[in-house]
Amino acid sequence: MAVRNAIFRLILVLFAAGACLAPGGGSASEGFEAALVLLTGKSAKKRMAGVEALAASGHPAAASMLSAMVDGKLYYRKEDGRLFVVAKRGREFDLFDPMSGEQAGSARSKALKKVKVNNRLRRAIRTALAGLNLTHPDRAKRLDAAAGLLKSADPGLRPLLAAAFDREADADVRAAMELALAAVDIGRDSPPSVRVAAAGRLGASEAPEARALLGRVVGDAQADPAVREAARAALEEIENRLELYRQFGAGFPGISLGSVLLLAAGGANAAPAVREAARAALEEIENRLELYRQFGAVFQGISLGSVLLLAAVGLAITFGVMGVINMAHGEMVMVGAYATFVVQELFRTFAPELFGLSLAVAVPVAFLAAAGLGAGLERSVIRWLYGRPLETLLATWGVSLVLRQAVRSIFGPTNREVGNPEWMSGAVELAGGVAITYNRIWIILFSLAVLAAVMAVIRYTTFGLEMRAVTQNRPMANAMGIRSRNVDCMTFALGSGVAGMAGVALSQIDNVSPNLGQAYIVDSFMVIVFGGVGNLWGVLVGAMSLGIVNKFIEPFSGAVLGKIVVLVALILFIQRRPQGLFAMRGRAAEL
């Protein structure tokens, strides 16, 4: 294996050297033909050889074929084994010639077979593509290529990388390439002095790969017993010193440092200077990472809090303001999520190119669907039960059972697929595994926007005024000419509609299934009670503090125990403040 890899790399380097001078010589094209045959092979081994040969052939179409392959668009015809890049049109595939890129007719899916890719092949293709793209005119492609090589840290590609680095003018790309070079240099094949220098350079980086590479050097354990014994003795000395450092670092959780120590204890043959440099660099990174991690935990807490907030805002109206123990609240959220699904299906069928807009359309649709349902529910059931809040529990529980089963009958019991539009996918990468995902950011913003909108409606509109009047003193409001029955209906519809909008957001992170609502109902009630019934600011503060506390406990206690701790804390908190964080004063407090 190693030998073949070495040969492959050699070929690749030769190709790179001669690529600019004589593209596609006779031998290269022969290699290309052979590669194509290998690609249609049944075993992964053959296909691996095919990828290597393809990369080595230097054929101008190699790069595009490799990317088609990794995207799962490279097929071959069963009858003659000819390769095509395909574009799917239902069960019909359009075929494109991989060499010329021209359309070569179409075929039924059954007549074709996909060139299968597994993870190992994917890695090989990525490395090969990175090698091919190092001198690509597009800056972004070169950056990607450098990042790819940092991941694979393949010593075979070093000359290629060094040449590209020398020619590179763009500062960012140069930095990325330099890092990739360091990643190669710290490898086992380099002399100790080079490895020490590389460790220093990697120490300046925040890429997770840099940390991984350093960790690997520290933990290397292949040496003869005498060397190991000496290294172990030296290590003990270091460890004693490290223990001192650890004592110094009060407040620093010490977990990360501990992991460094563990790795160091397993270390062996690498020269002490290399290890020392690697260790120092690693520690430097760790210190910085700890900060990022704290920030990450706060972010995750806020993000969990925003989910709780979304789930609870609607309930804050139906339960908090109107006093209806609305067990069907979760189902309103579910209705919103299914509305999203329906909207997305329509987009998929009629306007797939506008799919990115589907969520924007889904928000009002979900609001109207849930609000309509809420209004109907109020007119038919809830209105007979005002003044008997506990009985609303019974009726709305019945409604919740019916709605769940209805959705199960209409949409089927299985999960429905709701897609993340482009602009909601992906993440901002902070150093060291702390990723801030776009969909979470959007959900935080969305939840705050929903809360602000609800507050604005209550504070600044006529309806909001009437609503406040009715909840505060119904007979007086009636006397002032407010039709309190209508206001009740609208209020309940508003609460339900807001729950429906929450469903749009939750469909992005959770299952869209008939059980969706049940997962949030208990939490929503907790948030409201914690924040204080009938107070929207309380909901905000309640949701955010529950979310953040949960996320700070979770790493130490595990997810289950973390949740239990939060619940018990909540019970104890209510003893101290029996009306929640923001207690209502006066008559309204007697719910």
């Binding site: 799962g72 996909k114 190992r120 999960n415 993340n420 990723a435 299952n511 869209v512």
Partner: protein
């Protein structure tokens, strides 16, 4: 007016309860063989189990079209245990004692199986259990047609450690906190130790059912994976929690080439709820995938689509388990000439059936099947591409060899053993 509404109220109440309390004595259909279907159609497990109910109805329909069994029609009896575990026991008892069914196909979760087990043993019923499970059990009254841990978990991890699977040296074992993940991970830990992987290279994490906030755990695993060694995630995360888990993975940019996830509870049905584009390359280990290319499977899928009336519905491993189980049971009934439980049980041993993967499944004396193990990679269309499979069928192991207390136990229901958990034969 007031008395009017009161009267209406009274009438409504009376009608309501009369209706609810009315007991319908369904006329007993003469000369049918009753088959009980005990899958949740509501509650948390409906999401997985409803499909199995439909699959069973289709299989029974098939047999009936072909003339039935022993000259009689087969009559399905469907009940809804509503994901309520004690209700499973109640319904099992009702099916066996009241409906007098010949056999029951059902259950999904371990706890539902544990709940009905005493009922089946007391009344000498027969249960076909179609889901991959933790093993450590062999009841005289249950045939386990899903995978035992050695038919799923161990081959999958072996694959991850192989050159093709990415040569992983470090493992994050993520699971929902219940008996299946606990057992599987215990077996895996012992197995990994036997392959020279130390405890510091194994991360074990459990989450509650329906866990939806995976930010912390995914971050933790990413940092665990960035400490030097090649890492893989082994997921025994259950049902509902999978969608948010995979969504979080995708959003945090975890690529399968760098950090592959192999899952034992994620099949085509679970993926149907996710946009699989960002998940391409993650793995699952099963005994069947919908993408298997055999004439049997093509025919099965076609029939399924026709039966359910929806071209987009997928098939999955537990469905195949029911397919094999029902086929074997029908053959055993024919062979025994009766639906009597004891006679059918005897006829089940050594029973073979062509599975949908084109291999021959065999029912062993420990009540577990021999089946091949397949590893598939997620594709962007929600299907799996088979990247590896065992050379032949693997014998399902009731008692794991990697757990000291269970390694000494044997399950063999034929003479002279006649026992599900013995160290020496009974006779």
């Amino acid at each position: 007016m007031k008395t009017m509404t009161n009267r209406i109220r009274g009438l409504a109440a009376a009608g309501l309860f009369a209706g609810a309390a009315m007991v319908s004595a369904a006329p007993a259909m003469a000369e049918t063989i009753k088959v009980g279907i005990l899958h949740s159609l509501s509650g948390t497990m409906a999401i997985s189990e409803t499909t199995l109910k439909d699959a069973m109805l289709m299989l029974i329909d098939d047999v009936n079209k072909a003339g039935g069994l022993l000259g009689k029609q087969v009559e399905p009896v469907v009940v809804d245990p509503a994901s309520d575990w004690p209700l499973f026991a109640e319904k099992a008892r009702e099916l066996i004692e009241k409906e007098k069914v010949a056999v029951i196909f059902g259950c999904w979760t371990s706890v539902s199986r544990k709940s009905v087990l005493p009922v089946f043993e007391e009344l000498n019923g027969l249960l076909f259990y179609p889901v991959q499970y933790e093993g450590e059990e062999s009841s005289r009254n249950v045939f386990y047609t899903g995978a035992a841990p050695n038919q799923q978990a161990i081959p999958a991890v072996e694959y991850l450690m192989s050159e093709d699977g990415g040569a992983a040296e470090r493992f994050a074992l993520l699971g929902t906190d219940y008996v299946y993940p606990r057992t599987t991970n215990k077996i895996l830990r012992a197995f990994l130790h036997s392959r020279g992987i130390s405890d510091e290279d194994i991360l074990e994490e459990y989450t509650p059912f329906g866990h939806s906030d995976w930010q912390t755990i995914v971050s933790k695993v990413r940092s665990f994976a960035s400490e030097g060694k090649k890492t893989a995630i082994v997921s025994t995360i259950n049902g509902d929690a999978n969608v948010p888990f995979y969504k979080e993975l995708a959003n945090q940019g975890v690529m399968a080439e760098d950090l592959p996830v192999v899952a034992f509870s994620v099949g085509e049905e679970e993926l149907a709820g996710i946009d699989t584009g960002p998940l391409v390359g993650h793995l699952a280990a099963w005994n069947y995938f919908m993408s298997v290319e055999t004439p049997e499977n093509e025919a099965f899928i076609e029939k399924w689509h026709a039966f359910i009336g929806d071209e987009d519905r997928v098939t999955n491993d537990p469905m195949e388990a029911h397919y094999i189980g029902f086929k074997m049971w029908a053959q055993a009934v024919k062979q025994a000439g009766t639906t009597d439980v004891d006679a059918v049980r005897q006829a089940m041993y050594g029973q073979t059936a062509k599975s949908l993967t084109g291999t021959t499944a065999v029912m062993n004396v420990n009540h577990h099947l021999s089946k091949p193990v397949l590893i598939g990679e997620v594709q962007d269309d929600g299907q799996f591409e088979i990247v590896w499979q065992t050379d032949g069928p693997v014998v399902g192991d009731a008692w794991s060899d990697y757990i000291p207390e269970s390694a000494r136990l044997t399950a063999d229901w034929t003479y002279p053993w006649v026992c599900g958990n013995c160290e020496k034969p009974m006779f």
